[in-house]
Each structure stands twice: as C-alpha cells, then as structure tokens.
C-alpha cells in the first residue's frame, strides 16, 4: 500500500515538473504533445487512401521506406473538416508499438510549460473528447490542450475492434 502511495506521488512529481512540448494548431485551438514523443514534423505529402479504413484515418504515407498511417486530428476530434493548406503539417509521433502521423493545421512553436500552469482536463473544455487530454495549460493569454497521444490511437483501436466485431 505504501508502494502505491509512492508511485502516485512520483507520478504527481512528474506532472509537477516543467515539460517541453511541441505546440500545433487544429481548427484555431492550440494543442501540444510532449517533445519526446515527436519523431519529426514533415510537410504534407500525397497520402494513399486505404479503402475500408476508419473515417478519421486519412491513409498512409511512405516515411523513408516505412509505411505509416496518418490520422486527421480534425476528424479525430470531430471538428469541422477543412481543406489542407500550405501550412498544414504532419506531426510524426512515436507510440509504444508504432509510428503514426497526425495532420495538423500548422505547427507554431516548442514551449516549456511550467507544471504549475497545468490544470487537469475538464470535460467541458475545448469541446473535444476529454479522454484524449492530459491537461490544460494556461499560458499568458492562451490555453494549450495537452494531448494524451497514446489514447488517441488506443481508443481508436478499441473502436476498430468494436467495428470489426459488428461486421
């Protein structure tokens, strides 16, 4: 029991530390992913559509010989879908067992977020599914949503399994 307590406090400790994140915008909102998880940021390239893929999966791209799936975060978060622009980018992130690309409207900066500026996610904030969120950072005059990148896909996979079970 004391062990559990230590673990919890350790987790709390990590959250309390400063965090370096990559900030990008999707539908005029700012989102951030821990910099350690970002593999690279690339320009939008031609995406191959895979027939029968889930709707929010845009398709696949060839990342130097490796074929990786690309997700549109707008679709993932059920936001308005718009045409990709010149500033659109693919943020390539490493998940525990695979690499995926996230299409964002633009990448703005790399920031250091002090831990005391982060609030726990509230279901009411930002209008997107709070399951994907790790917290909300209040910085000067803007809010940055910290994404829980593993959940973005794990929830996706769960839905997939459900979907294929129905089929």
């Amino acid at each position: 029991m004391s062990q559990t307590a230590t673990q919890t406090s350790q987790q709390a400790q990590t959250v309390l530390d400063d965090e370096q994140v990559v900030v990008f915008d999707v539908a005029n909102e700012f989102y951030a992913v821990n910099i350690a998880r970002v593999h690279e940021i690339i320009r939008l390239q031609q995406i191959t559509v895979i027939p029968g893929a889930p709707e929010f999966v845009e398709g696949v791209i060839n990342l130097r010989g490796k074929v990786i799936p690309v997700l549109d975060l707008r679709k993932r978060f059920h936001l308005n879908v718009s045409e990709h622009t010149r500033s659109s980018r693919i943020v390539v992130v490493e998940l525990s067992n695979q690499t995926i690309g996230l299409i964002v409207d633009g990448v703005s900066e790399v920031l250091r977020i002090p831990a005391d500026q982060v609030d726990p996610p509230s279901p009411l904030v930002a209008g997107i599914d709070s399951r994907y969120l790790r917290g909300i950072a209040k910085l000067e005059n803007r809010l940055i949503v910290l994404l829980d990148i593993d959940k973005v896909l794990s929830i996706l996979e769960q839905q997939q399994i459900e979907a294929s079970a129905i089929n």
Binding site: T48, P51, V60, N62, V67, Q160
Partner: protein, 826 residues
C-alpha cells in the same frame, strides 16, 4: 525455482554460454540426423552399413559432447542408445519395431534433455526406465543368441566407434601409440565423470588401445578410486602438434592434470625412430585420376605400395579419411615415407609400383631436408600436412579459448584440416541479420526503381542530354547490380525444404501406427529451396494435410484389401519449383472425396442452403471443404477432424500469398496442391489505376489483363459478367467495391479494362480504370489500424515513393462469389 520438486533443479555445465550454444545447435543437428536415419533404418533394415555407421557416429558424437559439457543424464542415455546401435551395426541385434520405438523415444527424451541446456533447469523427465529398456534389448539378445562379440560388450563400451574399422592401420606401419598419463585432483568429487571426460577427449584423436583403469570401470565407475589414469592411444595417422593438442584438450577438463604425454615405442619403429626416420623421410605424391570411381581404394593401394619399400610416417588423406572414404578423385595422395632402401632405388620402385596401379600416377618424390624439419617439422614440404599441422595448432589455441566439447571440436577441425580443400566453408548467421539484409535490399529496390523513373522523366526535359544518358546508363547498371544482389540475398535465405520435410516421416509413422494403417510415405524434391520465412510457416499447413490424408484419406487395411487395393496405403509429399513459386503436393491413394457427401454434410451443418446446394457444381462442392466448421470425418479423432482444419490451412497459406487447390477422384485418391511464393518480402505485381490512385495486384493471382467493349458485359441475375473463352467470368468494379459509388459508363462504345484474377479454382474479373504495368514491389505491413480494411492486404512502396495498396484478391473474389450466391436465388 523454489516450491517445485527436485525436477526444478538448476543445472550447471562445464562450458561457457557460447560453447553451450554451439553444443545446442550441434546437438540439434545430430538429433535431426538420428531422427531421419533411424526411420530409414526401420525401412531399409540393417543391410546398409553406411547408414549404420552414420547413425552410430551421430550417437557417438552426441555422447562425446554431452559428456564433455558434463550433462550426465544425456551422456548416460546416449550411451545406452549407442550400445544398442553398436549391436545393430555388428548385426548381433536385429532391427525390430520395438527397437526403433525405443530409439525414437530416446530421441524425444534427448531433445528434452537438450532443452535443459537452454533452460538451465532439470526437466521432470526420467531416463532410467528408457536406459533399462535399451539395455534390456541388448541383454535379452545376449541370452538368446550367445555371440562372443555381443557377450562381451562391456569390454569396450566407450570406444566402439573405431572398432569396426578394417585393419587399415595394419597396412601402414606408421600407426603410433601415445602414452598419456593423467592425474585426477585429490579433491575431485566425481572422479568417474572426469575420467570419462578424459577418455572421451582422448578418444577423439584415435583409438584407445589400453586404458587403466579399464574403459568399463571408467564408464560405470561407481567405485573408481584410482586418481591416476593411463591411456595408450593409437593415432590413426601421425600428426604434428598432437602432444600440445592432447595436453591442452585434457587440461581444459577441470581437475584433470596431465602428467605425461609421449610417444610410445610399442608399435613399429615409426614413432620411436621418429627423428631418425624423418631424417631420411621422403615426400611422395601420387595423383588419383579425376575420373576414378573409388578414390579411397586407390589411395589405400598407393599407401600400401609405399609401405612395401619403407615406413609410411604420415599420409594425407589419413588412414582414417581413407577408411571413411573421404578421398576425392583428382587429388594427390601425399605421403612421408622413410625408405628402407637407398633413395634412388626407393623412388624407382615406388614409381614402378604406383604406375602399375590403375588410375594412379606417381607425381614426385623429394627428400625432406633435416634442417627444415628441425625448424618446422617434417610436414613443411607437404602443404596438406602443413594445413593439418596448423589446424592442430589452431585447435589447440581455440581449445584454449573455447573448452567446449573440446575433443569433438578438435576432431572435426583436424579432419577438416586434412580435407581442407573439399570441406564446404560455412558460416552460421543469425536469421535476424538476414532479415535486416533483406529489408535493406528492399529499400534498394525501391530506390533503384525511383532512379529509373527520374531518368525517364528527365529525358527530353533538359539541355544536357549527355547527362541524362549517363544517368540512364548508371540507373541501368544499378538495376542489374541490385537484381543480382537481391538474388544473392534471397538465395542466402533459402533453405532446402528438407528442413521442413525431415520431421514428417516420423509424424506419418506415429500417426499411422495410432490408427493402425500401413502407409508408405514417399517424399520427393527435398532439395527444393525456399525462403526461410516461408519455410517457417508452411510446416503446420502441411502437417494438417498429412493428418487428413492419414486419418480420412487412406482407407483401413481391411477396406483396402476388400476393394482389391494394395493394403499398404501411399502418401506422396513432393515439392518443386514452378516459375516463381514453390509447389507442394500432398497426394494419397485413398478413397477420394465425394462432392455429394460434402454437399450433404455442409447442408446438414447449415453451412449452405439446399437451394445453393442444388445449384452447386462438383468443383464448387469440393471448395466446401475449406469452409470453416467443416469436417467430413464420421467420427472425431484426436488426429484430425475437429472441424477447424481446412479453412485454417487455406487461411494460413493465403496469408503467405499462396493458394491451395485439390483434385480428387473417388476411389483413387486425393491431391492437395499448395502454391507459395519463393519469398514473402518482394513480389511482382501488376499496377493498376482506380480513380486517382494506384493499386498493386500480386502477379501470381493475375491470369490476364484484357480490354473489352462495354457492350460485351452481360448482366446475369443483375450481376455483371463476361464470357471469357467459354467460361463465365463474374466481374466486380473496383471503384464501386471501394467507394460504394455507382458510376457506370453507359455509352455502348466505351471500353473497359479488365484484369482476370484467380483464387484457387475461382476466377473473377476486376474492372479497373487503366493498367500501368508490372513492377517489383516490396511488401510492407499496414499495421493494426487497417486490420478491418477489406480488400487490402498490405502496402507497397512504388518507385516514386508513393504507397500503393496491395489488393487482397482472395477477399475480393470471396465478395464476388458471395454477391453471386446472394443473387442466384433472386
């Protein structure tokens, strides 16, 4: 480990982890050889002395090396098995089913014991009963059939390996006795074990003619108290550095100390007069004709001839090599001979004698100078012997580093040394490294295609055509090189299918025994090579097919006799290459498959409707066997017939981009044909366009591509089809298949591109927007996200870096069939 009984005992071995790995891989090889050969023994009986020797040698090696690392249980069991094999080899014990059963059982147990080396934990298996049974075979035999040889097997239980030798050494006066004295440490806890290790180590160098304490005491030496060991070793041939090699090998055994190791003067003058003889030694070389059918005999004749005029000190090939027929026609026999007559006379006599022997030719003779000898030993003039010497030294060195099964290794190395020019030079490579290499080649293939594309795009779009030409030329060269590289890498990953097939004879034998059927199992095309990754995955489907044939295919003996068939059933497993595929047939001469029965069964199981059953042709009915939940066995047996069989087989084969079909004739038998690509990583594909996107179709499922008039497309039951050479080819529009959109080009003079594809016996036509062409593609997995995607099996990276989905032809054809079926009743 705590909590388990004594079976969980930790094991320690006298070897480093690397040595243990070597021991494991060698052990597996020996077990594999034994497995195959013992089955052959069952079939061929004990008339094939070569086979018997091979079996015996494998068992002996296994015993030696397991003794060397101190795996007592393994050494004990191999010893019992070896004793039985020795009797079989000497024809004092007949080959019986019981004997084979016991030997095969021993192999199974040995495999478990070998696994103990990996896990380091003693398994629960017991060997005593098996050892008793094996010994029982021998003892029982002794009672019924008193044979002087068999009656006294204990006299030389450890050394029979060399015993069956013809008295070849007697022809060569150069056989040498070495006396070796060792001491076992006072504090040693298990003197018998150390003594046995020493015995085995020494034995690798030759025949032990005398041992104190005697071999049987050492072997069973419960009451071995002596701490001093004395061996007299009869070397097959003189070898330089033997003393060092022996000493080092022995000193690697813990608690063993070499007191002395010296040549004895007992046999002939050779060893004794080593120095004086060598002073006069003559190097002789005799060539064996390249067309000689039995070089070993000629080599022996040459040595005997030389023996008439002097003392043969060394020879390459050695007596042992000759004995084991390790002599290659077209090579020279090199000898060191100490003449017993004046040199000129000796050379003339020898030349005369040798040239009178057919297929032999005296090449040269040269007196070795004493100075050289003093420095480098008598073998310097004789390159082959020099190799032998160096190898012996290397062995000594390497033994110093790797004391692993020291003796075994030195034996092989010395032998290799003697036949250095003929031995295949092999390197063991980790499979992962080969996989990495294959991936890199895949990348290279992508890039060279891209380069070729850039070159063709530049053509005509630049002011400097010379550079473009240069680029084109370079790209062509690169294509050639990477093609060659790809072929080489693929070949290095290839295995003979024997590696898969080798375990089947045993399997068939056991299963046949279980169902009391007699089956003649024929394996053909064992040498057919296929990619390692395919080989790894093809085993299970074949096992399933074999099980089906044994259980359902072949009739019982009574049934067969009743209908006038040979009571012994036949199953033929064959492999061959056909184009870029490997084709495996599993064929039995059983009662065949009745399509009507299949239909009835499927109907009763509710897998098909009575409506569709009545429409079903024979071919279609046979396909029912691949439906999931289908089993035709009247009763469920533990061999097969759980009803999960053939659909799994088909699914697994299709995962490998392969296909399975069957042909059957009632009363005559059934043949399943499995077709597989040679490799899984790179395939040839037909690229097509649908909408704005490129798709790849694996070429092995493409029959042909056609262009037809839109008006030729018929609508049958509201389903599009065309007639292709008398057969109806159902069509599917890929654009609709993927998007669900229906945009039919209704203008009558429009043309459509159709790619006819097949899956098993089924055909279908895919309507595509345009054809692009053939290309080699590298298959990439799309990952879990696209698990549910129907109709796509993977992704291919094309020359321009784009990804093209690879179409899953089986899934698409299934869809066509389902659509057809749905519409038929309408």
């Amino acid at each position: 480990m705590k909590g388990t009984n004594m079976a969980g005992k930790q094991l320690t071995f006298d070897a480093t982890p690397e040595e243990l790995n070597l021991f494991i891989s060698e052990g597996e090889e020996q077990l594999e050889i034994l497995n195959q050969d013992i089955l052959r023994l069952e079939q061929e009986g004990d008339s094939n002395s070569e086979l018997l020797q091979e079996i015996f040698r494998a068992a002996h090696t296994l015993k030696g090396s397991s003794g060397a690392i101190g795996h007592q249980r393994m050494a004990k069991l191999t010893h019992s098995a070896e004793t039985v094999l020795d009797h079989v080899r000497r024809h004092t014990l007949a080959v019986s089913t019981k004997l084979i059963d016991l030997l095969l059982q021993s192999l199974d147990v040995l495999r478990t014991l070998l696994d103990e080396v990996t896990t380091g934990v003693e398994s629960e298996i017991t060997i005593d009963k098996l050892c008793d049974d094996l010994n029982g075979l021998v003892n029982q035999n002794n009672k019924t059939e008193p044979d002087p040889q068999a009656a006294a097997p204990k006299e030389s239980p450890v050394k029979p390996a060399k015993e069956a030798k013809p008295k070849l050494e007697d022809f060569i006066s150069g056989s040498h006795i070495w006396e070796i004295d060792c001491a076992i440490d006072e504090n040693c806890l298990m003197p018998p074990g150390r003594a046995l290790q020493a015995y085995i180590a020494i034995q690798q160098f030759g025949k032990i003619v005398q041992s104190t304490p005697p071999a049987d005491v050492i072997e069973y030496g419960k009451d071995l108290t002596v701490k001093k060991l004395h061996f007299e070793l009869d070397l097959a041939a003189q070898m330089d550095g033997i003393e060092q090699a022996l000493t080092i090998v022995l000193e690697k055994i813990p608690e063993i100390k070499v007191i002395s190791c010296k040549a004895a003067g007992a046999f002939g003058a050779a060893a004794d007069t080593d120095n004086t003889a060598n002073q006069n030694a003559v190097s002789c070389s005799v060539a064996i004709d390249a067309a000689c059918p039995m070089p070993a005999v000629r080599a022996l004749q040459a040595i005997i001839a030389a023996g008439k005029f002097g003392t043969v000190i060394t020879s390459v090939p050695s007596a042992e090599d000759i004995d084991q027929s390790k002599v290659t026609a077209g090579t020279n026999v090199q000898m060191q001979v100490a003449p017993n007559m004046p040199l000129n006379e000796f050379i003339d006599s020898l030349r005369n004698a040798v040239n009178h022997i057919p297929e032999l030719m005296f090449v040269e003779s040269e007196q070795a100078s004493p100075e050289t000898k003093a420095v480098e030993g008598s073998a310097t003039k004789n390159s082959a012997t020099a190799v032998e010497k160096i190898t012996a030294e290397n062995t000594a060195k390497s033994t110093a580093e790797t004391k692993n099964s020291s003796a075994t290794e030195s034996e092989t190395q010395i032998k290799t040394g003697a036949t250095a020019s003929h031995a295949p030079r092999m390197v063991r490579i980790d499979v992962e490294r080969l996989d990495a290499l294959m991936n890199l080649v895949g990348e290279l293939v992508i890039d060279r295609t891209r380069l070729a594309r850039i070159a063709s795009q530049l053509n005509g779009h630049t002011d400097n055509p010379a550079i473009v030409e240069d680029l084109t030329e370079t790209s062509r060269r690169l294509t050639r090189l990477s093609d060659d590289l790809q072929v080489e890498v693929m070949r290095s990953r290839m295995l003979p299918i024997e590696s898969v097939f080798s375990k089947f004879p045993r399997l068939v034998r056991d299963l046949a025994q279980k169902v009391s059927k007699h089956i003649d199992f024929i394996v053909e095309g064992k040498d057919t090579e296929l990619d390692r990754s395919v080989a790894e995955q093809i085993s299970d489907p074949i096992i399933h097919l074999l099980r089906n044939s044994i259980d359902h295919g072949i009739e019982t003996e009574e049934e067969r006799t009743a209908i006038g068939k040979n009571p012994v059933g036949q199953i033929r497993l064959s492999a061959r290459h056909e184009e870029n595929q490997i084709v495996i047939d599993v064929e039995d001469d059983g009662h065949g498959i009745d399509p009507e029965k299949l239909k009835a069964k499927a109907l009763s199981k509710g897998l098909i409707s009575s409506e569709s059953a009545s429409h079903m042709g024979n071919r279609e009915a046979l396909e029912l066997i691949f439906l999931s939940g289908f089993s035709t066995a009247e009763k469920i047996s533990d061999i097969s017939g759980r009803g999960v069989g053939m659909d799994i087989v088909r699914t697994n084969i299709e995962k490998l981009n392969g296909s399975i079909t069957l042909e059957t004739e009632i009363g005559q038998g059934t043949r399943f044909t499995v077709r597989l690509p040679l490799t899984l990583a790179i395939i040839r594909a037909l690229l097509i366009n649908v909408g704005s996107q490129v798709y790849a179709l694996p070429l092995n499922s493409v029959i042909e591509a056609l262009r037809i008039e839109a008006k030729d497309i018929r609508s049958i039951n509201n389903h599009e089809a065309i007639e292709l050479r008398g057969e109806v080819l159902p069509l599917i529009r890929l654009a609709e298949f993927f998007d669900g959109k229906i945009e039919r080009n209704t203008s009558a003079d429009a043309r459509e591109f159709i790619v006819a594809v097949r899956w098993g016996n089924r055909r279908g036509g895919l309507i595509v927007d345009s054809l692009i062409g053939e290309q080699e593609i590298v298959i990439k997995s799309l990952g879990n996200v696209f698990r549910a995607s129907n109709g796509v099996s993977g992704g291919a990276v094309l020359g321009d870096g784009q990804v093209a989905p690879i179409l899953d032809i089986p899934a698409i054809i299934k869809q066509i069939i389902n659509a057809e079926r749905d519409r038929v009743p309408a």
